[in-house]
C-alpha cells in the first residue's frame, strides 16, 4: 500500500526505517504495542534521544513492543489520504491501528497541530472523549507536557519527567488490560485510564476538570475520579548511571539534523537561569559516571561508524568528568605516537578502537570530532573547545542571552562583559574566526538600553576579532522570550508581537552599518503563538483543532507558518492574545498547571521572580547552600556529581577569573593569559 507511493514523494528514504540500531519487534497479545511518535519530520525527529531511549527500553521488556513514526511531509500525507493509507510505523510499515498506544514526544508548541493531524491519520478520533475501546490510547511526554492543558483534550495520558522507569510501569499497567480486552473480557476504556492514573508521573486529563469562577477565570483543576491524585508529581531517575541508553543509537540512512553520536553526560541544571524551563524542570543534577561516558563514546563510535560525538546536557562544561572524557576521545583520535606518549595517555587508552581489518594501528578512529553543544562562557570552555575542535574549526557559540549586565542579573545568567570578551579573545587567538552569540529580547524589565546592549556586545566582539584576523564575523541570533511554566518568569506578561518586532528593528538599525555582524532573528509572529500555547489552558484545544482543520500543519517550518490561521481561530473561540500571552499573572491566580508538579515549590519560584525584579542573582546551588526549591528535598534525592568543587570558570562567579585558569588537556596547553 505504502511502497507504491514512495517513489512519488520527496525524500522517500525517511519513511523506510532499516537504520542500524532499529529493533526487530515481535508483536503478540501479551505485549502492549507502542507506536512512538515525533510530530515533526523524520529529519528533526529521528535524533530525538528521549524517543530512542524509550524505543530500546520498551523493546527489552517482555510485556511491550515499540516501533516509531514521524509526521509524513505534506506531499505524502496528501497521497496517503487520497489512497486511504493510514499513519504507519517506519520500522515495519504496520498501520497505526495495529498498536495499542500512540505516544508523542513533545518538545515544541508549534507541533501541536501535527499531533492532531497524526492522531487523525492514525484513524482515531482526535478528541480523547470520542475514542472507543479499540481505539489507540494517545499519550505524550517531553518538556511541553509540563503544561499539557492546551492539548489535554487530545490526550488519554500525559507523562511528566524522565521516561525511563515510567514507560515500563505504563506497559505493566496496560498489559493485563490489553490481555483482557483481546480475550473479550468486559473491560472498558475507563479501566485503562484509571490504571494509568495509578502510575506516579502519569496525568490522565479526562479524570480532572477545571473549575472556574463567575467571570470564567480558572480557580483550580480538580480530580473528578477517586483514581486521580490531587497533584501529579513528575518522575525523576535518581541514577543516570543505571540507564546507559540509548545503547544502540539509531544511525539514519538519510540526512537528519544532529547526525552524530550523542551521549548524554548529565541531566538537570542548577545554574538557575530564570528564563530556562529545561533547567528548572530537570533538577536536580544527575551526572553519568565518567567511566560510563567513556564506554558509551568508545562503543558508540565503533558500532555506528560516526566520526563525531556530541556530549549533551544543558551545560556540558559543567560536567565534572569533562576533562577526562574529552581528553580520552581526543587522544584516541590521534595517530599512534612513539614511546614518549606515556604522560599524555591516561584514560585515552580505553578508547583505542583497536586493530581492525587493516592490521595494527589501522583501526584508530582518525579525526574524531567532539562537540559540546552547550558551552559556558569562560576560558576553560574555550580551552576544551580548542582541543576538541581542531579538526573542524567551524563556529563557536556563546549564549550571553542578555545585552547588559543588569539584564543578565535579572535573568540570573551571571556572565560579566569581561567574561564574554575574555572567552572571545582566547577563541580568536586560537584560530576561530566565526562566533555565534545567542540573545533573548522581550525579557522582563528590559529597556531599550538593554536591547541595544546586544549591538554593543556584538560590535565589541568583532573589534576583538579584528586584532587577530582580517575579517572576523559574528552572527547574532535573537529569539523572542516566551515565558514558560515552572519558571520564575511564569507570571510575566510576554512582550507583544509589535513590541518584539520593534526591538528587532532597533537592533537591525543599530547594526546596519557594522560589517562583520550578521543579525538573525526568530519570527516574532511564531514567538507569539508559542506564547499562547506555553501558558494556555483547555480552551485552546478548539483553537489547535481549528488551525489544523484549516490546513495549519508544520507550523515550525517558516514556509508553512501562518499567523492568520491562529488569529482567526482565536477569534472564533472568543479568545485573545492579550489575555493568553501578553497579560501578567498575579500571585494569587490559579495557573493551568497548578495540579501538576515539577518538584519546584511555587513560593520558591515566586521569591525568585521577586529577586529577578530586584536584580538579585542566585549562585549555583550545587556548590552553595540549598535554596530549598523542592527539586531535591521533595523527592529525597540529591545532585549526583563526581566532583565536590566547582569546575574552574568565571561565569557564575564561582571560580577563579578566566585568565588564571590552567588548562591542560592533551599535549598542547593553552597559553596562560590567553583569556
Amino acid at each position: 500500500m505504502l511502497e507504491p507511493i514512495l517513489p512519488l514523494v520527496s525524500k522517500p528514504a525517511r519513511y523506510i526505517g532499516g537504520e542500524d540500531g532499529a529493533q526487530v519487534p515481535e508483536h503478540g497479545p501479551g505485549r502492549v504495542a507502542w507506536l512512538l511518535a515525533y510530530p515533526d519530520t523524520y529529519e528533526i525527529g529521528l535524533p530525538n534521544q528521549g524517543l530512542q531511549i524509550l524505543y530500546e527500553i520498551l523493546n527489552e521488556r517482555p510485556d511491550a513492543v515499540a516501533e516509531r513514526t514521524y509526521a509524513p511531509w505534506t506531499d505524502l500525507e496528501e497521497r496517503m489520504r487520497a489512497e486511504g493509507v493510514p499513519l504507519f510505523s517506519v520500522d515495519t510499515h504496520r498501520p497505526a491501528a495495529d498498536f495499542d498506544v500512540l505516544a508523542f514526544n513533545l518538545s515544541a508548541e508549534l507541533t501541536y497541530t501535527n499531533l492532531v493531524g497524526m492522531i487523525d491519520l492514525a484513524g482515531a478520533p482526535v478528541r480523547a472523549a470520542d475514542r472507543a475501546i479499540d481505539d489507540l490510547l494517545v499519550g505524550a511526554g517531553g518538556h511541553c507536557t509540563y503544561n499539557p492543558e492546551p492539548i489535554a483534550a487530545f490526550l488519554d495520558f500525559v507523562v511528566l519527567g524522565d521516561g525511563e522507569e515510567v514507560a515500563g510501569e505504563i506497559s505493566a499497567a496496560l498489559a493485563g488490560w490489553k490481555a483482557a480486552r483481546v480475550a473479550g473480557d468486559p473491560v472498558t476504556r475507563h479501566d485503562a485510564l484509571t490504571a494509568l492514573a495509578g502510575v506516579t508521573g502519569v496525568y490522565v486529563p479526562a479524570l480532572y476538570q477545571p473549575v472556574t469562577d463567575a467571570e470564567g477565570r480558572l480557580v483550580a483543576t480538580r480530580p473528578i475520579d477517586p483514581a486521580a491524585p490531587e497533584l501529579v508529581e513528575k518522575r525523576t531517575v535518581a541514577d543516570l548511571g543505571q540507564w546507559p541508553y540509548p545503547r544502540q543509537q539509531l544511525v539514519p540512512l538519510t540526512e537528519v539534523v544532529h547526525d552524530r553520536l550523542n551521549v548524554e553526560v548529565f541531566r538537570g541544571c542548577t545554574r538557575g537561569c530564570r528564563f530556562c524551563q529545561a533547567g528548572m524542570i530537570t533538577r536536580p543534577v544527575r551526572e553519568r559516571p565518567a567511566e560510563q561516558v567513556r564506554t558509551m563514546v568508545a562503543e558508540g563510535l565503533r558500532r555506528t561508524g560516526y566520526d563525531e560525538v556530541a556530549l549533551t546536557s544543558l551545560s556540558t562544561a559543567d560536567f565534572s568528568g569533562v576533562e577526562d572524557v574529552v581528553g580520552a576521545i581526543v587522544r584516541s583520535g590521534e595517530r599512534p605516537a612513539p614511546a614518549d606518549e606515556g604522560e599524555g595517555q591516561g584514560p585515552g587508552s580505553s578508547l583505542d578502537c583497536g586493530a581492525g581489518l587493516g592490521g595494527p594501528g589501522a583501526g584508530l578512529a582518525s579525526d574524531i570530532s567532539v562537540s559540546l553543544p552547550s558551552l559556558r562562557v569562560d576560558a576553560f570552555t574555550v580551552g576544551i573547545a580548542a582541543e576538541i575542535q581542531r579538526a573542524r574549526r567551524t563556529g563557536l557559540t556563546f549564549a550571553p542571552e542578555g545585552g547588559t549586565w543588569r539584564m543578565r542579573q535579572v535573568i540570573n545568567k551571571l556572565i560579566s562583559d569581561d567574561d564574554l570578551y575574555g572567552a572571545v579573545e582566547s577563541a580568536y587567538s586560537q584560530g576561530w574566526r566565526r562566533m555565534k552569540l545567542y540573545f533573548l529580547v522581550g525579557l522582563p524589565t528590559e529597556t531599550d538600553e538593554d536591547t541595544l546592549g546586544i549591538a554593543t556586545l556584538a560590535r565589541n566582539v568583532v573589534e576583538i576579532g579584528r586584532r587577530h584576523h582580517k575579517n572576523p564575523s559574528v552572527t547574532v541570533s535573537v529569539g523572542g522570550f516566551v515565558p514558560k511554566p515552572f519558571t520564575p518568569f511564569q507570571w510575566f506578561g510576554q512582550n507583544t508581537r509589535q513590541e518584539l518586532e520593534r526591538k528587532v528593528g532597533l537592533l537591525r538599525d543599530a547594526l546596519r552599518r557594522d560589517r562583520g555582524v550578521q543579525l538573525k532573528w526568530h519570527d516574532p509572529r511564531a514567538t507569539t503563538v508559542e506564547g499562547i500555547m506555553s501558558r494556555g489552558d483547555r480552551r485552546l484545544a478548539a483553537v489547535i483543532e481549528d488551525v489544523w482543520r484549516h490546513g495549519g500543519t508544520f507550523q515550525e517550518w517558516s514556509e508553512h507558518f501562518d499567523l492568520q490561521l491562529w488569529l482567526d481561530a482565536l477569534e472564533r473561540q472568543g479568545l485573545t492574545v492579550e489575555e493568553l500571552a501578553y497579560r501578567h499573572r498575579t500571585e494569587d491566580e490559579a495557573l493551568p498547571w497548578d495540579h501538576l508538579s515539577a518538584g519546584l515549590h511555587k513560593d520558591f519560584l515566586w521569591q525568585d521572580w521577586r529577586d529577578a525584579l530586584a536584580e538579585v542573582g542566585l549562585e549555583d546551588c550545587r556548590w552553595t547552600p540549598c535554596y530549598d526549591c523542592g527539586a531535591c528535598t521533595g523527592y529525597g534525592i540529591e545532585h549526583v556529581v563526581a566532583s565536590a568543587v566547582p569546575p574552574a570558570g568565571g561565569s557564575q562567579g564561582t571560580g577563579p577569573s578566566p585568565a588564571a585558569v590552567p588548562v591542560a588537556l592533551g599535549r598542547r596547553p593553552v597559553p596562560a593569559g590567553a583569556g
Binding site: L6, Y15, E255, C353, A362, G363, S366
Partner: protein, 231 residues
C-alpha cells in the same frame, strides 16, 4: 592502494539517494575499521569515488565504488566482502572486492553502458514486444529532454544497445535493456516513456555495468556476480 567494490542495493533501501549511500559507505568503512585515505586540507574527506549515480528508487546488483586506502595497508580481500556487508545496513551488500592498479580510469568515465531489468506495468507482452521492435527498427529516436533548465532534442537511438521483453512472473512485462551511459545516455524512465501510451514503470533494477577495454566489453570488476539476493 585502491580497492574496487561491487555492491548491491535491494529492497526498501532503494529509496536512499546517491548521497545517502555515499554517507552510509563512509560510516560502514569506519565500522569495518578500514583505514581510508583522506584528502588534505581544511576539512579532510575520505577518498571514495563512486560510479554513475543510480536514481533514487532503483535497485541494483551492480553498483561500484573505489576506495583509496592509507598507504601500506594490508587487507585480506577474501574476507572483505563479508566484513563490509556486515557493516552495511540491510539491503546493501558488498558482493566483490579487488584491488585496481594505479592509473585505472575512474568509474565515472569508464562505464559505457548498464544493463537493466525494467518492470513495465499496464501493457501486455504482445504490445510491449511490438513496440520494442518498432523502437529497435527506428533509425532515429529524437527525444526532448531538459538540460540546465532548457529543452534539448537528442537522438537516443545510439544508446539503445539491447532490448528484450519477457513475461514477468508477477505483473506486466519485464524488459531487459542495455542502455548507453556516456553523454547523458538513456535512462530507464525515458525508455518506458518511449514505449508510448499506457506504459507505466514498475520496479527497476540495474544488473550490470560495462566498460570498454581495447574494444571488448567487460565489467569493472572481473569477479563473478554473487547470486541474486532476495529483496
Amino acid at each position: 592502494m585502491r580497492l574496487r567494490v561491487r555492491f548491491s542495493k535491494l529492497g526498501k533501501v532503494r529509496f536512499t539517494s546517491h548521497r545517502d549511500v555515499a554517507r552510509i559507505w563512509e560510516r560502514a568503512l569506519r565500522r569495518a575499521s578500514l583505514p581510508v585515505a583522506r584528502t588534505e586540507g581544511f576539512s579532510p574527506r575520505p577518498k571514495l569515488h563512486f560510479g554513475l549515480a543510480l536514481s533514487t528508487g532503483y535497485e541494483s546488483l551492480a553498483e561500484y565504488l573505489d576506495v583509496d586506502l592509507v598507504e601500506g595497508t594490508i587487507v585480506d580481500l577474501a574476507v572483505l566482502p563479508e566484513a563490509l556487508t556486515a557493516a552495511l545496513p540491510g539491503g546493501l551488500a558488498a558482493t566483490a572486492v579487488a584491488t585496481v592498479p594505479p592509473g585505472t580510469p575512474s568509474l565515472q568515465h569508464a562505464v559505457t553502458s548498464s544493463r537493466w531489468e525494467v518492470e513495465v506495468h499496464d501493457l501486455d507482452l504482445a504490445t510491449v514486444t511490438a513496440r520494442t521492435e518498432a523502437l529497435l527498427a527506428a533509425p532515429e529516436l529524437v527525444t526532448t529532454r531538459q538540460r540546465k533548465g532548457k529543452d534539448v532534442s537528442d537522438d537516443v537511438r545510439p544508446h539503445l544497445l539491447h532490448l528484450q521483453p519477457q513475461a514477468h512472473p508477477a505483473e506486466g512485462v519485464l524488459l531487459v535493456a542495455e542502455l548507453g551511459a556516456q553523454n547523458r545516455g538513456l535512462r530507464p524512465s525515458e525508455l518506458v516513456a518511449l514505449l508510448g501510451d499506457g506504459a507505466r514503470e514498475g520496479r527497476v533494477r540495474r544488473t550490470h555495468q560495462f566498460t570498454e577495454h581495447d574494444g571488448t566489453r567487460c565489467e569493472p570488476l572481473p569477479a563473478p556476480h554473487a547470486l541474486e539476493r532476495a529483496s
